[in-house]
Amino acid sequence: MNTSVNIAGVTFKNPVMTASGTFGSGMEYAEFVDLNRLGAVVTKGVANVPWPGNPTPRVAEVYGGMLNAIGLQNPGVDVMIERDLPFLKDFDTKVIVNVCGKSTQDYVDVVERLADQDSVHMLEINVSCPNVKEGGIAFGQNPDALFEITKEIKKHAKQPIIMKLSPNVTSIAEMARAAEAAGSDAISLINTITGMKIDIYKKTFAIANKTGGLSGPAIKPVAVRMVYEASHAVKIPVIGMGGIATAEDAIEFMLAGATGVAVGAMNFHNPYATIEVIEGIERYMSGQGIENINEIIGAVE
């Protein structure tokens, strides 16, 4: 049975990854999960300098999901290079570093800083975080802005890049095409959907930032639809995410056109979710007589 997939020249032992921001840099979940079994660890977003993030409360549960507005708190790329990458290097898995910034130059700084890091296999560019005021989603909601920043980052990146797209757009196909036209090697989607929760007794917002990104099983049908539309709009590989809890969910994304799949918020519900998804995909393959996982990618037209 072949479970390996290829994304932009990088071979993953299986298509299952972690969604950025839900798995730290892998260290916190290494107590629960053998990281060697994962297709890839996708790290929490990292900027050129440390970011303090948003005030609390930063998280709130909603029906079938959660809102978060962490605000991309991160220790900066230097700490990632000194602490997180050496930790990850010891595992037989691929490492995708998620990169965030407030300006094009911020992104370029991080990408250049990571250029000589052999343990980084790909870069995922976060132009879709709904929780920071500058940068982030500002680049991810306009196809021209997305094209420009993708082109600029591509000039400086040594590793293949994955532009991570926001669902908070009118046409995901148009955004996917802009990323591809600018030279992105792959795209990942969806980031969280901007949401809001109000405490009716305290008469306040549940999240200090007022709005937060919705994730979890509640967003899965939206994500599957967008992965389908995006993967039919471009030739570059698509990494699908948004509410994946089980192998069945992951397979649905792959049938819709995803080459890779990421488990996000469900890590919080089930710290073993990634492994259970991998094992479930293998069971599905043997049950369905599928010899090569690549057969199911985009198999539903």
Partner: protein, 265 residues
């Protein structure tokens, strides 16, 4: 330290302690690693919910693998827990957090201060301090604050030393808050351990400063992962720390217990 895990637990018993306050005992191997001031995440079985509810450990019997949590019914998750009966099963995540630094108590005049649903973890602390020779304090005074006469766990605290009570309506003990009770009784301390709402903890930190004591306070915050990955539950610190490299500490893993001097309260 043993590995954190998500694991099934069997309900041994559950009873109502006061209005909206439940006393739940679980059979779980996690009890073997529990320390006072740590917490567990309890997962509702309701499929519309995602996140574990962080609930402090009130007590434990390591030998019999019993873990006791005392919690307030505050939302749909805890309302579900309140229905659990003997023999039911639930999923828990743990053991989480650092716990109270017991070693700071050795030979010292210790005061344990709790307010509202911050009271339960202090019972485990009071018990441990009374039984653990290595951290035996010179004296222990306990000050617990409640809304009204509908108190809980007070009879058990009395086993471990002098107990002062404050109630908002004055129906028992000092009328007012725990700091009012400390002042009224001229409570002195070298070391204070506290858990309760943030305004109370600010008061505790200020009182500790006033009387020249060290304060170790347990914080709460909305959490998602409980294991230090999501950065949902941070508190502001005075110094940049090694993990975040900004002035944020993670309550779930760097805490929930902090030296009050390290925090921006």
């Amino acid at each position: 330290m043993s590995k954190k895990k998500k694991i099934g637990a069997e309900v041994i018993s559950q009873r109502l302690l006061a209005e909206g306050i439940m006393d739940l005992r679980l059979r779980t191997s996690l009890a073997e690693d529990a320390k006072p001031g740590q917490f567990i995440g309890v997962y509702p079985q309701n499929k519309s919910t995602l996140l574990p509810r962080p609930i402090s450990i009130c007590g434990y019997d390591r030998e019999n693998k019993e873990l006791r949590i005392v919690y307030r019914i505050a939302g749909s998750g805890t309302a579900e827990f309140a229905l659990y009966q003997e023999g039911d099963n639930t999923d828990i995540l743990g053991v989480l957090g650092n716990g109270f630094p017991l070693d700071k108590a050795a030979g010292k005049r210790v005061v344990i201060i709790g307010g509202g649903i911050g009271v339960p973890p202090l019972l485990g602390l009071a018990k441990e301090l009374s039984e653990n020779a290595a951290s035996k304090p010179e004296s222990v005074t306990m000050v617990m604050g409640y809304r009204n006469a509908d108190t809980f766990l007070t009879d058990e605290f009395e086993n471990y030393g002098k107990l002062l009570i404050a109630t908002e309506d004055g129906s028992i003990g000092t009328k007012g808050n725990v700091i009012d009770a400390c002042k009224e009784n001229g409570v002195e301390a070298d070391v204070i351990y506290a858990c309760g709402p943030m305004p109370m903890l600010r008061g505790v930190a200020a009182y500790a400063k006033e009387i020249g004591a060290k304060a170790y306070i347990s914080l709460e915050e909305r959490m998602a992962c409980g294991v230090g990955a999501c950065l949902g539950c941070i508190c502001k610190t005075k110094e940049v720390d090694d993990h975040s490299h900004v002035k944020n500490a993670r309550i779930c893993t760097d805490g929930p217990v902090f030296d009050a001097d390290d925090l921006e309260l």
